[in-house]
């Protein structure tokens, strides 16, 4: 794309900020290595269209080009929450994992991408290369051992609960104020919360929800969505500062996300 096209798209976007011109404009800037400008345009577009998977995919590619792997990972994870079948996000996450040396995770994302686009020869070639890098061989009759549920929330005994969006316990457990098991009751309550949070965030233009923090009582609570179809509750005594609880919840969410990916 030539400079005149970029100028035309910039003018179009200035005239109508709600225009989708931000997509080709940010992409053109990215291709011309004007990453700072591309990022600004893409961020504004994603803020205006928080439900558009393509906007976050573009944001992720720009972040990746800037060497901001963690932020790119977050953006592509958001894409998959909005559109679980987004091939670009699976490819991007596979690339990030490969670059980070996590070949087995990269392989899982690529396998999913090939499932979604079996006719894509480039993807199949990439899959073969990553399989070669991991030393993976398809052995007839081999069945992978089931992931160990106790690993998912290992550092959070009795203080974290992972549930599916229908309110069923996936891993972990929590106790009530009297020390009695409250896992099933809390799981049932969380199912409604997830839908309510999604609805509120969507209708208020807050974008996909990332976390809910609750203060008060003997314990503070943090809710996260490790994947699009799960929710994680982490609780700590109120003496634990809110910022620290947020970090603990983020770490537990990452652990839960990895575990859930292994289950698939």
């Amino acid at each position: 794309m030539i400079a005149d096209d970029i100028q035309a798209l910039t003018t179009q976007l200035a005239r109508d900020p709600s225009s989708l011109a931000f997509l080709p404009l940010a992409e053109a800037l990215r291709r011309r290595a004007q990453l700072e400008s591309a990022l600004t345009v893409a961020e504004q577009g994603a803020a205006r269209y928080p439900e558009m998977a393509g906007a976050y995919d573009l944001l992720a590619r720009i972040r990746s080009d800037r060497g901001e792997g963690d932020l790119a990972f977050d953006a592509w994870t958001t894409v998959l929450r909005l559109d679980p079948g987004h091939i670009g996000a699976h490819k991007g996450l596979a690339f990030l994992c490969y670059r980070a040396g996590d070949h087995s995770r990269s392989l899982r994302y690529l396998e999913r991408a090939v499932e979604l686009a079996p006719e894509d020869a480039v993807l199949r070639s990439a899959l073969d290369r990553v399989r070669g890098a991991t030393g993976a061989r398809l052995v007839p009759g081999f069945t992978e051992p089931a992931p160990d549920p106790s690993r998912a929330l290992e550092p959070e005994p009795g203080q974290a609960l992972l549930v599916d969006r229908d309110g069923r316990v996936l891993a972990g457990g929590v106790s009530d104020a009297n020390g009695a098991d409250a896992g099933d009751a809390v799981a049932a309550a969380l199912a409604g919360v997830t839908r309510e949070a999604e609805r509120a965030a969507r209708l208020l233009g807050l974008g996909p929800w990332r976390r809910i923090a609750l203060e008060g009582g003997p314990a503070h609570l943090e809710l996260r969505a490790p994947t699009g179809d799960s929710v994680l509750l982490v609780m700590r005594p109120r003496e634990i500062p809110a910022g620290r609880l947020a970090l603990l919840a983020e770490r537990a969410a990452s652990s839960a996300r990895r575990w859930l990916e292994e289950l698939v």
Binding site: A46, A47, P50, T78, V174, D176, A177, N178, A182, A185, V186, A188, A189, L190, G192, V193, E196, A197, R199, A200, A201, L203, L204, G205, L206, G207, P208, W209, R210, R211, I212, A213, L214, E215, G216, G217, P218, A219, L221, L233, M235
Partner: protein, 113 residues
């Protein structure tokens, strides 16, 4: 008096609007909102979400939270229950000073008696 407190909260950079909401029916009691913020929608959704959160703390045998913060990729919703069945609610940009807004909301909730 309380309306003046709300007006002060809206002066915090990044705050898009502050409302006093009736928790039982999710209706707006008072508000100071930026243009484009739908006060009725904010009030109804915040009251409903706060009610859902209450069900989680009940299941844990805990009292009602004093502050709820829903964070999205493009903004946040804060809600602090006050006395007399009121809820103090704020909608803010993602880069708002959450600590300052939190303190202001807790103060307003204490006055909403």
């Amino acid at each position: 008096m309380l309306v003046a407190v709300l007006a002060a909260l809206t002066r915090i950079p990044g705050v898009r609007g502050v409302l006093i909401v009736s928790r039982d029916d999710g209706l707006v009691v008072a508000d100071t909102l930026m243009e484009g913020v739908d006060g009725s929608a904010v009030a109804a959704l915040a009251a409903s979400l706060a009610g859902r959160m209450r069900s989680v703390t009940i299941a844990l045998g805990q009292p009602e939270p004093v502050m709820m913060h829903l964070a999205g990729t493009s903004g946040s919703l804060f809600a602090a229950p006050g006395q007399s069945g009121l809820l103090i609610v704020a909608v803010a940009a993602p880069d708002v000073n959450a600590g300052e807004l939190r303190l202001g909301l807790l103060d307003a909730a204490g006055r909403a008696a």
